[in-house]
Amino acid sequence: MLVFTNVSRIYPDGTQAVKGVSVHLEQGEFCVLLGPSGAGKSTLMNMVNGLVQPTSGKIILDGEPLNKKNLQMIQRSVSMIHQQLYLIPRLSVLHNVLTGILPLAGFWRSMIKSFPFKDQQRACELLSEVGLKEKHLMRRASELSGGQQQRVAIARAFMASPKVVLADEPVASLDPTMSRSVLKSLKKAAQINGATVLCTLHQIDYALEFADRIIALREGEVFFDGAPSEMNSEVQMKLYEIEHEILAQAPQSKPEEAPHLEINIKAVA
């Protein structure tokens, strides 16, 4: 369904973030991307929703190749849960979720914040799926706790019935109990809506617990690809070793951070 064929990306500063990645994702798969910082996880994900263009190789979503021409169509069938969430703090929870279908909403109706009843019901359904209550509906997003905000972001991502949901470290700032419950919500929402999820994580135990499939990246290349049961301790150890190796080297630049900044600026401008 989502096919990467020999995809590479070289940033203008010469960093080769992704090197010849070929992966085939099935519909409805919950796939976790593992790997040390700077391994190219974020770059790989941002290539799916057009925030980053691949230097070479092809990405095919549902038979449609990704390119600049059909970017808008792709952006509507791919949604993203950002690491910093990027909810709108002063907007109500309901409207934050409804912004998920903003690209499809009528222009004048959306200007006065009037959404069709059908869409509002869908938003409520999604919010209850991720475990929020009616009392949260009209609260401002900024009034919620971190875990609740994360759930709102998940509901927003599923609002437009996307084919693919990209989650960039969705539990980076949560405690273990909350992380587990948020991941559960994410998986449940994905199952109900039949969406493929591509999720980056730093915690291997969560990956083993929730993933249908784990892809581990190492310096831009696929290091491991398979079911969680195949990911034995030897593979894990190797991943850690590599991490230690990288840490032992003198830090020249942070390849993950610099390109990320560039992406944000481009996307807003």
Binding site: S79, Y86, P103, M111, V268
Partner: protein, 335 residues
């Protein structure tokens, strides 16, 4: 140079050049600043102001004489008691029903003396006056209300002008750099025109009355407000905007959902400030004939009716204080 740098990098920490608060350079700079400030203060007669104010203070405690204090006391003697009432000859008024006089008013009979130059005689005549004890106060309050309305409409028109211009003048939402520069230029052009001067021209065009005042306020403050609006849009957090635009929403929708909710409290605070400021300025605009209480103030000032002037000043003062308190309350609610 390189050699010296190598030398310093090898120095022991005991020999490091640490921070020095006062250097000959700072002393020299302070001296230059002092000389320049003194020169400028002399140009603006600040030295004379200091001397005369000092004299006034001394004279107030009984030492010497002061022009300033004499001026104050001259105005004070004429301004008090302040004038709330009106006294009009009945024969000059038309259609006064003696059965139903206006509220609180009464008829007073007085004697009017007139001097005839040709015969060198005084003629006395009995005249009836209609006295309204708070008549003048009512008139001033009516004009103050007109001034507040001028401030209000000046602000409204200013928002209508500055909202679209402000969006076009925000770098990240302007459709084209040329539009951005044009909008910024237009706004600063509006800002650079002082109300009083604009009002002078508008009085020539529209004639005496509040139209000139309202438009003058709108033109100047739309420049200020538009710049505030644009800066606020530019400084809104980029993350939520990126999240919506990367999902495929067009820029107007992003503006509506990711920017407006964020900038709204600041915008309301700016608009409140501009409204307050417009009312204060509107009181002055009447001096050039642009409507409001200033017209009455100027008329009375030119007639040396300082008791009437005192009433006007009192009402302006009370209005400004009340408005300030009111808008402070409103601000606490919106933030």
């Amino acid at each position: 140079m390189k050699h010296a740098a190598e030398n310093t990098s090898k120095r022991n920490w005991r020999e490091w050049q640490a921070y020095q608060a006062i250097t000959p350079k700072t002393i020299f700079a302070l001296l230059i600043t002092f000389v320049l400030l003194s020169w400028s203060a002399h140009n603006t007669e600040m030295d004379k102001a200091a001397v005369e104010t000092g004299q006034a203070v001394l004279s107030a405690v009984g030492i010497g004489d002061s022009n300033v204090l004499n001026g104050v006391s001259k105005f004070g003697r004429q301004a008090f008691p302040i004038q709330f009432s009106t006294r009009t000859e009945l024969s000059r008024l038309e259609g006064v029903d003696l059965e139903y006089l206006p509220w609180l008013s009464y008829i007073e009979t007085g004697i009017s003396k007139e001097y005839d130059m040709q015969t060198d005689t005084w003629t006395q005549e009995k005249v009836e006056y209609l006295v309204e004890p708070v008549g003048y106060l009512k008139k001033v309050l009516r004009m103050m209300w007109e001034t507040i309305e001028m401030g209000f409409w000046g602000t409204m028109i200013s928002i209508m002008i500055s909202l679209p211009l402000g969006i076009l003048a925000a770098r990240n939402y302007s459709p084209h750099p040329v539009v951005y520069h044009l909008a910024r230029g237009w706004l600063s052009f509006h800002r650079s025109m002082p109300e009083l001067i604009v009002a002078l021209f508008l009085v020539l065009i529209y004639g005496f009355g509040p139209i000139a005042g309202v438009l003058a306020l709108a033109i100047h403050t739309s420049g200020v407000l538009g710049k505030f609006f644009a800066d606020e849009i530019e400084n809104a957090p980029k993350g939520p905007q990126m999240a919506l635009s990367s999902a495929g929403a067009n820029s107007l929708k992003v503006l509506r959902y990711a920017v407006f909710p964020h900038v709204l409290p600041a915008w309301i605070a700016y608009i409140q400030y501009i409204f307050e400021r417009n009312i204060r300025t509107a009181t002055v605009l009447g001096i050039v004939g642009a409507g409001g209480i200033g017209m009455e103030l100027k008329g009375r000032w030119d007639l040396f009716d300082y008791d009437h002037v005192a009433t006007i000043l009192l009402i302006i003062f009370i209005t400004v204080v009340v408005l300030e308190a009111f808008s402070q309350k409103l601000r606490n609610k919106t933030l």
